[in-house]
Amino acid sequence: MKVSDIVLGPIIVALGVIALIASSMQPRPIFGGGYGGGFFPAIVGIGLVGTGLILSWNGWRERAAVPLVAFESWIHSRRHLANVAVVIAALLFYILTSSWLGFIIAGFISLFVTMLQFTRAPLASFIVSVATIAVVKVTFQDMMLVPLPWGLLEAYAGVLTWR
């Protein structure tokens, strides 16, 4: 997805302006001779406004040659669109449900669905997903004590912990 500089430039300028406004709202520091939390962000904001303007100017000069937005061929393939959607959806699903479902269930669903979308092989995807989740669970949760969420399986945490 290529977006013309004529669109990106103003976005960067806007970001810089937001940074400037946000830094002006920072409280005055208790200590530190007047250099508060807004000092540095303001400098960065000015920089963004400046570079954004240059970018806009570049885009304006090339406005005839460069389309506003250009997509590569994946946008026309339903399968590839779905691929991208599934990756993002799988991660969102994990983020939203992992504390409730727990790593084992939420992780498995995210992994299995993504793999199924990529491979279109249900059985193989199922086996590989189960194996991967089992390996990750044992190595990280049980051996290295990473506190992956238990979620629904919390009551069985004692039984399911391999030591």
Binding site: P27, I30, F31, L101, P122, P147, A155, G158
Partner: protein, 323 residues
């Protein structure tokens, strides 16, 4: 496939509900999480792991230390206060009062169930080895005359727990801490580096934190803000020896749970904590590493937390952080 998953989820959920409804009587029947709002390998982490080992032995379930170091610990202790009060999430609490006044969260003694305090580290004031200052009294005298003449390292952000303790002494001596030159640093180690490099004139930090540099002869400790000399550092004088009625101050560490922890669980934990605290291994581990030993049960801890909140408010008000 989808239907199967749905079924499995529902079944698992139902089972989970059934078992987690079990009462506090058989606590703990599964691993307990111990939230430590500091990085792996630091002082808070070390003490927590000693406790965890002891608790694991007492209760026969793993007590897993979970490090949540982001944002100076505020994220970790906030999560602790929001955890379900079922006894399966406990944590280590330390000086929490400043966060509320600095605009982060609204944590008070009400946010937690106190269990037991096991540690208190006193703040100390350090100078570079070749500094002109030989005593803390001289520093205070100089600050009285010319408050801008000394750059004071906070050993963390300003105000830090260490600098707050020192501030208390200064306020009591009639010094306006608002006009002093407080210099922040990213932690005590970075503060020590500044001190030795000549970036600041004095530094507030605990004595064990400065121990390496003390040994190296790069740093001198003017005074520790403790009621009496530390057993691990008998050569370091106390502030009270130099300035009459200098208030002791520093950082406490305590085992707490989220607010509303059932009494039966707190009872069990308090008993266990007292035993662990008095055990030879724990005493040895703590004192060898220079951690200050101080025990308070749940009532004593609650009183202390209130004192801590008041003291913090006094200092921050004098600093101008609270209008």
């Amino acid at each position: 496939m989808k239907r199967l998953l749905e079924l499995a989820t529902v079944a698992a959920f139902a089972l989970g509900l059934a078992t987690s409804a079990a009462s506090a009587d058989d606590w703990p029947n599964r691993p307990v999480t111990l939230i430590v709002a500091a990085g792996a390998g630091g002082g808070t982490d070390a003490t927590a792991r000693w406790l965890a080992a002891g608790l694991e032995q007492k209760f026969g379930q793993p007590f897993n230390v979970v490090n949540r170091a982001e944002g100076g610990g505020i994220a970790g202790i906030t999560e602790l206060s929001n955890a379900k009060p079922d006894g399966y999430t406990l944590g280590i609490l330390f000086n929490y009062a400043p966060f509320r006044h600095l605009g982060m969260g609204n944590l008070t003694s009400e946010s937690y169930t106190p269990i037991a305090q096991y540690n208190f580290d006193f703040a100390a004031v350090h100078v570079k080895a070749d500094s002109q200052f030989k005593t803390l009294a001289k520093v205070v005298e100089k600050l009285k005359g010319d408050p801008q003449s000394i750059a004071i390292g906070c050993g963390a952000v300003c105000p830090s727990s260490w600098s707050s303790a020192f501030s208390k002494v200064l306020i009591d001596n009639g010094i306006d801490i608002k006009v002093l030159r407080w210099v922040p640093s990213a932690g005590a180690a970075a503060g020590l580096q500044e001190l030795v490099a000549g970036g600041v004139d004095i530094l507030t930090a605990s004595v064990p934190e400065a121990a390496s540099m003390l040994d190296a002869g790069e740093v001198r400790t003017l005074a520790v803000l403790a009621p009496e000399r530390l057993s691990a550092f008998p050569d370091v004088p106390t502030a009270g020896e130099q300035i009459p009625d200098a208030a002791p101050g520093g950082v406490f560490r305590a085992l707490v749970g989220p607010a509303g922890l059932p009494d039966e669980i707190v009872d069990k934990l308090e008993v266990a904590m007292e035993e662990i605290y008095n055990s030879e291994t724990f005493q040895k581990n703590m004192s060898e590493r220079g951690f200050g030993l101080q025990y308070r049960g749940r009532d004593g801890l609650l009183d202390w937390m209130k004192t801590h909140e008041q003291d913090t408010e006094t200092v921050l008000r004098a600093a101008g952080a609270i209008q």
